[in-house]
Symmetry: D2
Subunit: 363 residues, 4 copies
Amino acid sequence: MKNSFGNSVQLTVFGESHGPAIGVVLDGLAPGIRVDRDFIASQLSRRRPYGPTDTPRVEKDEYSILSGERGGFTTGTPLTIVIPNCNVRSSDYPDGIARPSHADYAARMKYHGFEDTRGGGHFSGRVTAGIVAAGAICIAALRGKGIRLATHILSCAGILDRGFSGSVDEIETVESRNFPVLSAEAEEPMRERILEARRDGDSVGGVVQTCITGLPAGVGEPWFDSLESLLSHAVFSIGGIKGIEFGSGFAMASMRGSEANDPLRMSGGSVVTETNHNGGINGGISNGMPVIFDMAVKPTPSISRLQKSIDMSCWADADLKLAGRHDPAIVRRICVVVTSVVAVTLCDALSLRYGTDWLAEKR
Amino acid sequence: MKNSFGNSVQLTVFGESHGPAIGVVLDGLAPGIRVDRDFIASQLSRRRPYGPTDTPRVEKDEYSILSGERGGFTTGTPLTIVIPNCNVRSSDYPDGIARPSHADYAARMKYHGFEDTRGGGHFSGRVTAGIVAAGAICIAALRGKGIRLATHILSCAGILDRGFSGSVDEIETVESRNFPVLSAEAEEPMRERILEARRDGDSVGGVVQTCITGLPAGVGEPWFDSLESLLSHAVFSIGGIKGIEFGSGFAMASMRGSEANDPLRMSGGSVVTETNHNGGINGGISNGMPVIFDMAVKPTPSISRLQKSIDMSCWADADLKLAGRHDPAIVRRICVVVTSVVAVTLCDALSLRYGTDWLAEKR
Amino acid sequence: MKNSFGNSVQLTVFGESHGPAIGVVLDGLAPGIRVDRDFIASQLSRRRPYGPTDTPRVEKDEYSILSGERGGFTTGTPLTIVIPNCNVRSSDYPDGIARPSHADYAARMKYHGFEDTRGGGHFSGRVTAGIVAAGAICIAALRGKGIRLATHILSCAGILDRGFSGSVDEIETVESRNFPVLSAEAEEPMRERILEARRDGDSVGGVVQTCITGLPAGVGEPWFDSLESLLSHAVFSIGGIKGIEFGSGFAMASMRGSEANDPLRMSGGSVVTETNHNGGINGGISNGMPVIFDMAVKPTPSISRLQKSIDMSCWADADLKLAGRHDPAIVRRICVVVTSVVAVTLCDALSLRYGTDWLAEKR
Amino acid sequence: MKNSFGNSVQLTVFGESHGPAIGVVLDGLAPGIRVDRDFIASQLSRRRPYGPTDTPRVEKDEYSILSGERGGFTTGTPLTIVIPNCNVRSSDYPDGIARPSHADYAARMKYHGFEDTRGGGHFSGRVTAGIVAAGAICIAALRGKGIRLATHILSCAGILDRGFSGSVDEIETVESRNFPVLSAEAEEPMRERILEARRDGDSVGGVVQTCITGLPAGVGEPWFDSLESLLSHAVFSIGGIKGIEFGSGFAMASMRGSEANDPLRMSGGSVVTETNHNGGINGGISNGMPVIFDMAVKPTPSISRLQKSIDMSCWADADLKLAGRHDPAIVRRICVVVTSVVAVTLCDALSLRYGTDWLAEKR
């Protein structure tokens, strides 16, 4: 489906970094879900660059809802959000020289030179602003059903935050911080490392971690539309993410079954597991425990150091020295994007399971 | 789409472990692709247990092609493969007590007790036999277009194989070995650790790695149907896989951009990268370099040690002591399943990009 | 999706007329729906030829359920039905000469000669036996929710039956008759005209009409997945159907708005319309009135008269004289196929709207 | 997929009649297709009301392309077109009283009162302006591959035009006329009847007919995605269409096989049929002959006569007297909408068959 995903709730993205606007169409969401414009704005502000650890390109992200909303509620018809591009400086990007680790060359092979290359075009992280706006509506809808989720920086440039254990408190802690970490003391060292990289004309990556609580057991499919399949499908659409692991993930590969198996127990009439190595998913289906997964974020490819590359206008080797405005790290800004795309995925899976009105029905 | 995936080429699986048969429908593959029954049989034999490192349940995997093939070639209509279940011993499985780390409890929440629980039912690894049969046809079709792929055991219970660098030789080495490793010397220690686990009534996991060579640049979509999205979606349908990373994956999270960026160079008229940290994918689109990714395989959940669990017939705590026939490790057998599901995914993406006849056209 | 349709409930067909078997996979149906084997058999017998008005090729239609059923109920996993082909006489079909009005030439252009041409191959009406078996399960599931449907012969070779007004009685009348008409007196003249055509080595067509009662208001989508879109999409997959009209259909084209508009009224607390020119659908969405639509069935293309055609082995004009076993009319047999494919479509739309368990929940 | 359709090329519509804007996202179209803004404008003007036979609400249809176009060519990324709503007079529509034959009541059952009811909301014909804009790009792309299509008024209020025989001349004739008929002399009597209906506070319907020439043989699928399925699915999304028939359609129901079968012949190295009762489609697949189909358009439901209806604010019987601005007939304006939605459908089917670059490759 290319620039869309979802079966019952479908998200479509559009737009180029230096075109007139970027945006999304969110279709299939129940009618009667509250559209909280302040919350959308606050989520967009979490994605926006600020301070020296982010790119100096700051957009105001003034969005318009063109359809699908009336009187502060979803109508049930396609909800379209458009965010105009204002702060555009195309000349920062050298024409024809592919940026290593970016989509430039791959895109040329796909689009034959008709692609809009300015500012990364359709591949730009700018497009995620629309996803964040749509995600805000989905996050609020999920909250109405007792489902909470957040994403924090688990590690950045060697500095570690502590991991999610699966409590709602942790989610609220992350939501309350503009620099999304669980341990407040992780922020400063992470920022320092990022600034260090910036001073070196370089960039850093990290690992981000998402936690979902309150998801009912029984969501997901045994084959192909497993919950891991759906979540990874959605998450890998975000540029810069190169790995995902659920629960203990790669660490499980070194465990024995007797360590990795999560013992089941009754607890207050509910079924729980004593450990959660499986990250809340068994056989592709949610088991009622917190769904937790980590994602590897590669260092931002746009760096100001001299790089070896090719000139696609003459297909010859070339050196690249990027000016422009770059993020020395996107781990902070990517968190809200991940949360957003995950929220849309959950709204889709839940609407498919429980029907198209379910997300709204308890108001 | 539940038990199906794909846009232009679609694979549907069906069947329960102890029902009459398992199978697949592979729809949308070009007409005129050779169906090599010997190759299908040899791929099925790679998935089949043998020797003390695998489960003693051995099925003959005698498959029938019910439709979509005539005179040794695909017809272009849905190709259906059915594999009857013969060697069935349901009494091995204790009724009502959920097996930890298995789908039993999650499936109960989803199917309300109507699910066929015998032998894991529809969640059983047995279902992958059909995927392997379908995959064999796709692997051969890809080979006809110069695209090769294989999966090996990168690590098992602490023993490491060397990783793919991306050559066709490596792929042929893996294909030539029943125990799929690149360094022959890795086999014995891995087998020993697996037998050790078996002696302990336990199991081990590992990491498997897939390499695809010859994939044209330009395949995949910028958002949502990125090549990483498509591959992870397909791979996470396989029970036991809990993580995936492309290229250097999680290791990229600790690199700086200047290390992680893959320098582009012209080489013999083609564009190559000097390193391949991105695993052959930029911005969700293939860049012509080998596509390489690792997957975490958790230790087999079925172990014969005493485990804490719950009895779903009365919703009370219960102890579980599994008899039955179990794999102390599935890392060997899972390799051909991963290769198969990846091959179907590539046939789908390539048919979508180049048209439904492309895979057959150069015969 | 080629040989599949559906979003939440998906039907996939496979098989060739003279291959080993034909069949279907029905995926996404709720767990816990009763699978009534007698009803499946009786529906299959409605599709089976009998007597002089049908083809002398009679298959026993002994089907197997390979997966997705246990203890007489759906499990919620893919339900696979296979019907072996037994009574096969391929030599009846002249090789290479395209049969006019059949798919032979179009299929050659699509499949380049790899298609199985024997007995119509994958295009054969034989494939509809699987659809009827799957449809039987869906019809029973719908009945459990108070939704009834049937299809009768509205006209055949100039002989008219009366049309549905929308009562459950009418549906039961049609269900009770092997020759599906509302007015018993229409049967004999229709049969006579069919036999007349057979004596002339010719064939006749007709119009069939479907009625659905009890469908809740609010099902369908405003654009693209309108209920008319979904129903016509499903129905036009059946070979021989060349037209569909909802409610008064083409007759509405000659009405004025004041005649065609269906006045709304309250009746016993419910909303009804005084007339039903719109066939129970407004703006693509069900309005709670009976959904009624007519379909044009072309005369069976296989006739024994001499026909002008082409020889595809040498691309030259050729005469065609078909021997073989043909239906002089398929209007009787097509009725149960239409009902079946409509039942699957409704199960899909209702599962999407009300959730995947809805069809089973009130047992 | 609700407000979207298509596999390889996907169209999504959004917007409400009296909201800020309506629009479309057209995703998956090849890069390098010329975007001719004059042609888009001229197509939009064909849809726009003018003169006394149409509604007096005239919108300027000044559209913006927000994404997916650069330098006059498609980029291959999602192409978004937005058309602001300007000429809005909501007070014309009485609140709460459902308009007979409109979606009002069905929409209430679906959206529970959250729907935007002003001016028909998302159900408004206004939304088709976006489809026409997207269709213009597809029509031009098809023309570049030798595929032409047009839709004319076959009958209106009892006045007949002659039918398409399948020549390119006929298509150009229709394209050249603002009132799309083949026989110029049909225009005046049709207009008179429409005005007569307007004077009576009433409306009329008609039959429109589409012809596609130059479509290669081999497009479409045997089951479920038959060309008839795809075209009817797309066409029935347009409000007001209540029937479709391919080729001789319902008239075939009264023919014998010997009349209805289209004899095949070789002609100048190509295969043709001497008649075209099947409308260019056999077994769901194009056969290379012109694809011709008729659609029934019901009379516009908005009439100014007094109508019986219900008040949805208190669920009681009520009389309805519509003021507002209405079309006494939409047969003229609907033609370009049908052509547009068919063009998108063809671009999708052709891109799926021949690959995503095919539509652009011969520039």
